[in-house]
């Protein structure tokens, strides 16, 4: 069975996970957090993201364990770097599932429901829409350089890329003006979002986790 979570709840969970990571509790609380995210991803049917995330996390833990066995400059350096990445893993882990199950339209209507102003929502949408465009532009410029046997250089790639993106941005603005983007009235959304019991439940569980982490995490159970 697959459940659907409201995008607003997903955004809230993302913030709460950041709280957990920020107060950086002990390892066991981090595992608890990863475990809870894994359950949410499983329930929402993101099996691929779930397996990939857990695998990456396990490999990180393994390498960190091996580094702990012998202490020298190299292992210390590797450990430091890996710990930094491990710290952001819960956020990345959840975000991968969020991206896979939320359409831009849902996200935008969630943001509108949260009364985030249009000056934030519209640039946000354009940014998302620009990622695939930027990728296409970059690939074309890389091909062009390869045809002439030129090596990659910042100047040769970024300057044409900026010029191209600027002209696309102008055409895009013109098109959106003719679709009434400058309308002063309130913007609506085709999708109507409603919070269900399940949304409240999942949000509550993660709120408790965040509060628990702020208080000190699993170690307080031992005291």
């Amino acid at each position: 069975m697959k459940i659907m979570l409201d995008p607003r709840v997903k955004l809230l969970i993302l913030v709460l996970i950041n709280v957990v990571v920020f107060v950086s509790p002990d390892l066991h609380t981090e595992w608890l957090c990863m475990g809870m995210i894994a359950v949410v991803l499983a329930l929402t049917g993101c099996w691929r993201q779930l397996l990939r995330g857990l695998l990456v996390y396990a490999v990180m833990m393994g390498v960190l364990y091996l580094c702990g066995l012998s202490a020298n400059f190299l292992t210390a350096f590797v450990s430091m770097t890996l710990i930094c990445f491990r710290k952001i893993m819960p956020t990345v882990f959840f975000a991968s599932g969020l991206m896979a199950t939320t359409t831009v339209g849902d996200l935008v209507s969630a943001m509108q429901k949260l009364r985030i102003p249009k000056v934030v929502v519209i640039p946000f949408t354009v940014t998302l829409r620009f990622f695939p465009t930027a990728r296409e532009e970059f690939a074309a410029i890389r091909d062009a350089a390869r045809l002439r046997g030129l090596r990659f250089s910042m100047e040769r790639t970024l300057v044409p890329m900026m010029l191209r993106c600027a002209s696309i941005a102008e055409e895009l603005s013109a098109a959106s003006v003719t679709r009434g983007i400058e309308s002063a009235g309130k913007r609506t959304s085709m999708r109507e979002l409603r919070l269900h019991t399940l949304d409240f439940g999942v949000a509550a569980v993660f709120t408790v986790l965040a509060a628990f982490s702020v208080m000190g995490g699993i170690p307080i159970l031992y005291d």
Binding site: R129, P160, T178, S189, M190
Partner: protein, 487 residues
Amino acid sequence: MIKIENATFRYGETREQCLRGVSLRIRRGECVLLCGESGCGKTTVTRLVNGLIPHFYEGEFSGKVTVAGRDVAETTPDALAGTVGSVFQNPRSQFFNLDTTGELAFGCENLGLPPAEIRERVKSTAAALGIERLLDRDIFALSGGEKQLIAIASAYALSPEIFVFDEPSSNLDWNAVGELARLMLRLKKTGKTLLIAEHRLYWLAGLIDRVVYMKAGRIESDRSAAEFLALPERKRTDLGLRALNPDALRPAAKLPERQSPVLQVSGLSAHYKRGKAVLRGISFESSPGEAIAILGGNGAGKTTLARVLCGLHKKASGAIALNGVKLSAGARAGPFYLVMQESGYQLFTDSVENELLLSKNRRSRPTPEKAEAILESLSLAEFRERHPMSLSGGQKQRTAIGTAMAHHARVLIFDEPTSGLDYGNMRLVVTVIEQLRAEGKTVFLITHDYELLLAACTRALLLENGEIKSDFLMMEENIGKVKEIFT
């Protein structure tokens, strides 16, 4: 429905007056074609009607434009959005959402319609235009033609009375143009008023009621469609217009004399990651001075063949040999060169001259005399100091060709070299191709431009499902084969 009275306009940063007193009246339900050479002001006229002038493009404007009884200068663009729907030239840069359904709803959402009504409009729009199959799709995965249909649908959802089209077919292939024409005919039948600025004319014959010909910012003539379509061929080319009646065109490129082949392609197969084969056992030979059209529908393998030839796509098996020497993908970049559809990508320096001199190492840099000769031969000499990005599309394209000539490319592959070009610029491309052939280069063209095909190509390779389906010379007796491909 549309009334333009003595409009003049000059774009902010330029000196040149773009419109010099244009007056035009279009009745409800009329379908009017605006045509003329590049830079004649036809796009600017469409911008007067949809309000982008004076609300979006800055400049000096005078005159009066009234659309459905409203003064455009006094009406905000969002108030016009429900009256005038706009469809632009580039399918890539006119959608805002990542999914098609969201794009159809976009305008209605902006204007704050209730959610239930938006859903209803999306549904009825898709049904009215017969594009239900395109709902809930990733826009980036659509073909250019499908994107253009979505652009029309997205405008239609706001139920405007008037549609303006700015070169809607420029980036589309033959089939997609047919579909576009059918959809526009539907709009016309529901009583919408259509204004179309366009270079390619053949597909509009059954659609238009009137033809307005512009030159240098003025309206030169205003004819009924019947009168315009009856213009003799000579008059049409004098006006710098593209073919009205492709059936009348004949193969015009002079076939090269028989020579021993220089390029040998054998057993070429290619695939993409995890995908099925895109090319399957392609073999052919070609001689210097040939101009070979690579034809075929969407997904036939044309682009992949071009990319494999010039070494951009490496996941390929088979052999490609030049002068009897087998070349690896890496070694083909250089002797093989691809002139991209948007040749602006291929220019990296700050002037046309430096562009020709730019090379991977000093040894391969052309001598100044050679660069000079190339600039002359491509009529670029007067632009040598200009920044490539400030050039027109045709000039950028010739600069890109110049870099290939400067680096001794033997085989040049053109990807849609004439999309969006008027008659004069198309003739320039034909001239450059003739020049390259005379120097003994082999030229390949991927094109959906029938007029270019007949004017420039000496041979055609038809691809289907990654295989060569037929291979024939562009001669009078083969014209039937060509027509069959283009219907």
